[in-house]
């Protein structure tokens, strides 16, 4: 594929991703906006893949290697931290837990 064709193709998926992003996010309730931010934060941690490519590029000098290495460190902090924090948050969102025995007893008293 020529460079221009590749570019056109990439711009196309970029534009489609914009609309997809709007579409999917508009269905997220306010209740989950913090996990949404933290979850999308984890997803842009994909930058670590780019950092890996740069670090491993053959035939480059020490400069690229060092910068690439730092980028891998930063990117993996982003991706791991992002997913772990989001998981911790979402774990806490629960429906009302099954009534404990004493709760049930009190419920009967009230009625």
């Amino acid at each position: 594929m020529s460079h221009t064709m590749l570019l056109v193709f990439e711009v196309t998926i970029l534009v489609l991703a914009i609309f997809l992003g709007f579409e999917v996010i508009s269905k997220v309730p306010t209740l989950l906006h913090t996990p949404l931010m933290s979850g999308t934060n984890a997803i842009h941690g994909i930058v670590v893949a780019g950092a890996m490519i740069v670090l491993a590029e053959p035939g480059k000098g020490a400069f690229t290697w060092i910068v690439g290495f730092v980028a891998v460190v930063l990117g993996s902090a982003n991706v791991v931290g992002g997913f772990v924090v989001t998981d911790r948050m979402l774990e806490m969102f629960k429906k009302r837990e099954p009534a404990k025995p004493e709760d049930a007893a009190e419920g009967k008293d009230a009625s």
Binding site: I13, I25, L32, L36, M37, I46, I53, L55, T64, L90
Partner: protein
């Protein structure tokens, strides 16, 4: 692994990221969605590692262990109240990585006979610039939220003009890099200038507007990553980055709407400046008296109510009172009182921050009511208990045109039969705006630390 195989395998992370966001539409399956996304991320990393790793595979592993170890440690340790700064920090390092990729790629491609395509140069200039703004801006946001530096807006004359000039210069340099002057130092200047702009741009924004800033910077990092995908001809970076860019932008706009302020106003007006004179006006106009009550009085009000609504704000987070509020609510429910929580979209330091804190305290999410759902309920509420919230319940937003928050949708707690405000003192809140709710004859104030007050209330309700 061939490029075709890798590109096909990259479809797996792309699909899982979309599913992860899709699953966030309900708390019932949101967690599973996040795990699916994480699994897709592992696929993306393994595929990239096998395909590109080459002789440097070990360096990648070491780098990932260092960064991932730090990320996992910090993410496990952080308190839920400190969540906003943690997200800011992770967001910043992601932006920094995007800027570094641009610098490294330019260094690799520039030496003769390498003449990078114009679009690749544009991508480098943009991801370097946006990544740097996001990195430095997030670090300042982190420092403000962590209270390493003051949360108040920092302003000086000519601030906006200065920032605009700096941005214009940076854009001009980016154009120069793209069309002709192919020199590495230019990108260094762009990245350095972008970092400076990030600092100057976030410094004047007050702590109360931080949720919007973090959301915007999140979108910036996503955008920088997507543009980075153009440098490396990598689809998964483009799609994942742009999904985040689009969602961050939409969320930022939604929050602006929830505060009835345009994005421009949020970012460039150094909120909190205007308020000194507005506060004076409001105080003069109010001029009423404040009724303060003891915990015992309030306990009686609560215990004999049919319906009580808690309205949490950032004060609750600061005092770490979410668990105590939940205990009090449990006790009231045991006495047959109907309890719900009314949550304003911008309460706290992050969109939806209050929901996370209350979920942490095991409050079932079915009891958490969003503004549209909560407001019609106030007229049949006996007692509204405002815990550490201020601006989001300020009736001036409805009626006082001179108020800086005029027009912002609020929780109409003054429609309840009675209002109890838990507050440290009569000092105006974070934004420094006077609140006539406190002078309303229906309102009683319970002064003191939110946590202590709630504990006193719980003790008093227990004796009834």
């Amino acid at each position: 692994m061939s490029t075709t195989t890798a590109d096909l395998l990259y479809l797996i992370p792309i699909v899982t990221f979309i599913l992860a966001l899709r699953f966030l539409s309900s708390p019932a399956h949101a967690r599973r969605g996040n795990q699916i996304g994480a699994a897709g991320m592992i696929v993306a990393i393994v595929v990239t590692w096998i395909k590109a790793g080459g002789t440097s595979w070990w360096a990648i592993v070491i780098g990932m262990l260092i960064g991932g170890g730090f990320g996992a440690f910090a993410a496990r340790k952080v308190k839920m109240t400190a969540m906003p700064q943690m997200v800011a920090l992770f967001n910043g390092v992601g932006g920094g990585a995007a800027a570094l990729i641009a610098l490294a790629e330019l260094h690799r491609l520039l030496p003769p006979p390498g003449r990078p395509h114009v679009d690749v140069l544009i991508a480098m200039a943009l991801s370097g610039l946006i990544g740097a703004v996001s990195f430095a801006g997030s670090m300042i946001a982190f420092a403000k939220l962590q209270e390493l530096i003051g949360g108040r807006p920092i302003t000086y004359p000519g601030q906006n003009v200065g920032n605009m000039v700096l941005l214009a210069v940076l854009v001009a340099l980016a154009i120069a890099l793209s069309v002709g002057v192919q020199d590495q130092w230019l990108l260094w200047v762009i990245v350095g200038g972008g970092s400076l702009f990030g600092v100057l741009f976030v410094l004047p924004i007050g702590g109360a507007d931080m949720p919007v800033v973090i959301s915007l910077l999140n979108a910036f990092t996503g955008l920088a990553v997507a543009i980075g995908g153009f440098e490396l001809q990598n689809n998964v970076l483009i799609v994942a980055g742009m999904l985040v860019g689009a969602s961050g932008t939409l969320l930022t706009l939604k929050m602006g709407k929830a505060m009835n302020r345009s994005l421009g106003n949020l970012l460039f007006s150094a909120f909190g400046q205007v308020t000194a004179e507005a506060a004076a006006v409001a105080a003069g106009a109010g001029g009423g008296t404040v009724r303060s009550a003891s915990a015992e009085d309030v306990a009686v009000m609560l215990a004999y109510a049919h319906k009580v609504v808690f309205v949490p704000g950032y004060g609750l987070a600061v005092a770490q009172a979410q668990h105590d509020v939940r205990q009090l609510a449990d006790m009231l429910e045991a006495k047959g009182v109907e309890v719900t929580y009314a949550i304003h979209p911008v309460a706290g330091r992050m969109p939806g921050h209050m929901n996370v804190l209350l979920a942490e305290a095991n409050v079932p999410y079915t009891q958490l009511k969003e503004m549209d759902e909560a407001n019609p309920e106030f007229s049949r509420t006996d007692v509204a208990v405002v815990v550490g919230a201020n601006d989001v319940v300020n009736p001036d937003a409805r009626s006082n045109q001179s108020s800086p928050i005029y027009g912002m949708p609020i929780l109409n707690v003054d429609e309840a039969q009675a209002v109890v405000v838990l507050k440290r003192s009569m000092n105006p809140g974070f934004a420094g705006i006077e609140n006539p709710l406190f002078y309303n004859p229906k309102t009683v104030m319970l002064f003191g630390d939110a946590k202590e007050s709630i504990m006193k209330l719980t003790a008093a309700v227990k004796t009834l």
